[in-house]
């Protein structure tokens, strides 16, 4: 067991975890933050994307013990005071989702893109979202959502 201390969505969390605990499992099972989804579980689909110290990573391929001392933001941490994050608002507005399973990962990944690139082209958005797989909508509205959010963030 390893004792880890994290700041998750602005709140300090200290827990003992088994050394082989994945960050995705820790968030879902220990903190009940089930917005982080586990899709493929082989780090290809991107449904589990969260931010660690501001950078998007795949939580299903990261050990909880490995990020001891870090700041973690999950999809639950984006909305502030009951108001959706501009990226969430854009996904809603452009209907950038169908079943919604991939959406938390898409949103977290897209937020990271706009942190590093203010006005990405459609091509750059598509390249960035290579690590996020959606099996419903065919990406058109997802790309439109990121484009829309880029004018508001």
């Amino acid at each position: 067991m390893t004792k880890i201390t994290l700041e998750v969505n602005g709140k300090k969390v200290s827990k003992d975890v088994a050394d082989h605990t994945l960050l995705s499992v820790f968030l879902r099972d220990n903190l009940n933050l089930t917005g982080t989804h586990v899709g493929c579980d082989t780090s290809q689909c991107g449904a589990c994307v969260v931010h660690v110290n501001g950078k998007s990573i795949k939580s299903c391929s990261t050990l909880a013990a490995d990020i001891d001392g870090s700041k973690v933001t999950t999809i639950e941490g984006l909305a502030k005071d009951g108001k959706l994050h501009p990226m969430q608002e854009a996904f809603k507005k452009t209907h950038g989702l169908q079943c919604g399973f991939c959406t938390p990962g898409m949103v977290m990944s897209a937020v990271d893109l706009l942190q590093t690139k203010k006005n990405p082209s459609e091509q750059e958005i598509r390249e960035w979202l290579e690590g996020n797989i959606c099996r419903c909508t065919g990406y058109q509205n997802i790309v439109a959502a990121v484009k829309d959010a880029s004018t508001k963030m």
Binding site: D19, H20, T42, S43, L63, D66, E130, G131
Partner: protein, 261 residues
């Protein structure tokens, strides 16, 4: 995933002392963690080397670019110094996997794993890289010994990779659309005295295509290798690409790389 003991040594000596026949060094974990989850590998001890500060960072001198083992792909891709000294290397790093993999994956992990389809080994071969470990310096051509195999011994740890700055270079990859690994990756580097054409994805291990390198060494132009046949007898053949197709891609992508230089 089976249980293991997780260690965070503070220096290379401590990391090396923890190593056993049932241990693995962990950097970004982009291959190690999925392998553990799938049961392809099991270890008693996982030795995380990311807390060892001296293993991370980029140093550029006139003749070489030295990248610390735990430097992430995203850091290499975004480095202004690497972009200036060896733009092909920054480009290669920026096209590995996806954004999240690049935010975690490291150069030391990539070359120590020596996946036959990984991108970095081709850069090491073409750029006459020297692999610095905690006990010696290994030239790239002696480092990559076979499929998922390297010259590293038990407890030996990659500390940094030193690349020779070429006159010109380019990397062209035909990625697998799902995994982004190279179905074929060709790294062409023109040095003062010779040209190296390194190929990944084609065979069980990265290699230098001697014929293409020789032709380009005597005349560095795409017309010099136009339509050159590449031997496919030892090439991989799978659901993604037949050996004949791969051989054709090697020739084609070498040409594309020369044109992009």
């Amino acid at each position: 995933m089976k249980t293991f003991n997780y260690h965070t040594p503070k220096d290379v000596k401590e990391a090396s002392n923890l190593a056993s026949t049932s241990s693995a060094f962990l950097a970004g974990g982009m291959t190690t963690i999925p392998s553990l989850k799938l049961g392809l590998a099991t270890y008693k001890d996982i030795i995380d080397i990311k807390s060892i500060k001296k293993l991370s960072g980029i140093k550029v001198s006139g003749k070489s670019v030295t990248i610390g083992a735990t430097t992430k792909h995203a850091e290499v891709a975004a480095s202004k110094e690497v972009q200036k000294a060896i733009p092909a290397l920054a480009k290669l790093a920026g096209n590995i996997g996806d954004a999240q993999v690049r935010n975690r994956g490291t150069i030391g992990g990539s070359i120590s794993n020596n996946d036959p389809s990984a991108c970095y080994p081709s850069a090491c071969m073409a750029l006459n890289a020297v692999i610095h470990t905690n006990s010696r310096k290994i030239p790239a051509e002696k480092f990559f010994t076979g499929m998922f195999e390297t010259a590293l011994k038990k407890g030996e740890l990659v500390e940094a990779v030193e690349f020779q700055v070429p006159e010109k270079a380019d990397y062209q990859k035909h990625p697998n659309p799902a995994s982004r690994y190279a179905i074929i990756g060709v790294f062409v580097a023109k040095h003062k005295k010779e040209v190296n054409v390194a190929v990944t994805g084609a065979k069980s291990c990265v290699y230098i295509d001697k014929d293409l390198s020789k032709k380009l060494s005597s005349s560095f132009s795409s017309s010099a290798i136009e339509g050159m046949k590449v031997d496919d007898s030892e090439m991989n053949s799978d659901m993604h690409a037949s050996s004949e197709y791969r051989a054709n891609l090697v020739s084609l992508y070498a040409k594309k790389a020369v044109e992009a230089c």
